[in-house]
Symmetry: C2
Subunit: 277 residues, 2 copies
């Protein structure tokens, strides 16, 4: 008989996780969310029953997966009433596993490294999942569950998971903010954000096959003072944008220098190898 | 009879532009590069003759396209000897059109907004080209040439082109550097950069349909102090990384606040709408 699973939370993660669980043949028996709207929406999408009341959460499930936001996971672990010491799992990058010890003897983490938006389809099997368990036996159960959902499952401690989460913030939230600032500059000049899209797509595509340090181009990398000072001229009066521009340019130069000093590069072609920016 | 074209430079841009010109049926008659290796490589790829000597550049072409790096374009325009006042075009984002006036009466710009790597195939027709001409007649010629190569051709002044170039540095070089810092954090923890790839791909894919301000997620956006201070703890001792983290997080909060204050958003779902980071 397969494990009965309750999913707590009906936000972006649950909107992708629940269909993936069902697709893998798991027996999801209930969704809980304190928001009626989100619970309804996920219930409609998945055909599963839902509740918005903590007291009505099904108590006899085998696995509880907590997908609610980071800052309320510890509270949920305290108020969750369940029988028979089920396996309780959270899915957050930045929260230590042991906040779950108040909910059950058996607990673990399954952290999906992805940016989730309800409206976008994602292939869950290609999302890296990082797993942890409070005992070898619990780890094995979490890992088996994760492997039924994704092709990339890695065992990772709470400490390393924090670093993974920090790295993800840089590669996702911060990269996205660089797009946003580019878009702002275009808007200030009456130009449409869509003009940047082929460039954004190619920049990400390059990172699919090259390490970003090898893929880097532009005036900061090649220390092109003429272009750097022209850019600064354009940002006059925009103090925080200029400060950010300078810090990031310095950081690029530092990373590229460190890389070059590791190599005995042949400089013969350096003049023609430069891209236009 | 079609225009005879000489391409000056055999770097990343020329490696993509020359095949696109040939594909569109243009008569490219010569490549010039001061680097024998790059000239040979592009000559081999395109089947075109090349020279590495300024004095051997074919003087009777109708169009010269200068794809060499930004800082040497003005010099090239001074030493280029050509007959019959041909159309001289450069392809740089950050260089004003009028540096070309020493080469000919007829000149213009065709700036491709893309990051070019020799080893990667690109669909040139999807690259936005920004064009400018020293007269209406010259602009018309540059625009016709550009439209034979790309589906997105926009007339843009040297001033606006500079802003476009600056925006591109943010959306490409700076976004790529955010990947690099993410990769560095993983390396410091013994984890492979490839784990970030699905996240990078999805972050860019989101920007294909959403404006990045609407696509933003994460602790900086939702001002999650717990996660922000946990991240700062992880970066203790890494002063420049920490400073950059703080500046970018502040900037994200500022952009997202500005957006929220423009909207009368319905906050009912805000708790569940949050992604895990």
């Amino acid at each position: 008989m397969s494990d009965k699973i309750v999913v707590l939370g009906a936000g972006n993660v649950a909107h992708h996780l629940v269909p993936a669980l069902l697709h893998a043949g798991h027996d999801v028996c209930q969704i809980y969310s304190r928001s009626e709207g989100s619970a309804q929406s996920l219930s409609k999408k998945s055909g599963l029953p839902y509740t918005t009341k903590i007291d009505d959460i099904f108590r006899d499930a085998d696995i509880y997966i907590i997908t609610i936001s980071d800052d309320v996971i510890a509270n949920m672990a305290k108020v969750l009433k369940c029988n028979n010491d089920p396996l309780v799992i959270h899915t957050a990058g930045s929260i230590p596993m042991n906040v779950l010890h108040t909910a059950s003897k058996h607990y673990g983490v399954m952290y999906p490294l992805q940016t989730f938006t309800k409206s976008r389809e994602l292939d869950f099997s290609s999302i890296p999942l990082f797993v942890e368990g409070s005992s070898n036996e619990d780890l094995k159960r979490v890992k088996t569950l994760a492997e039924s959902l994704s092709n990339t499952v890695t065992i990772l401690s709470s400490e390393k998971r924090k670093a993974m989460h920090l790295a993800a913030v840089w590669a996702c939230n911060f990269a996205n903010h660089m797009y946003a600032i580019g878009g702002k500059i275009l808007a200030e000049n009456g130009l449409d954000f869509s003009l940047l899209r082929p460039l954004i797509a190619e920049t990400a595509d390059k990172a699919m096959e090259l390490h970003p340090i090898d893929a880097q181009t532009g005036p900061a990398k090649r220390k092109d003072r003429g272009v750097l000072s022209m850019h600064r001229e354009l940002m006059k009066g925009k103090h925080s944008r200029m400060a950010l521009y300078n810090s990031i340019s310095d950081s690029i130069a530092e990373y590229c220098n460190a890389k070059n000093s590791e190599q005995n590069s042949d400089d013969e072609d350096s003049y023609v190898e430069l891209t236009l920016w």
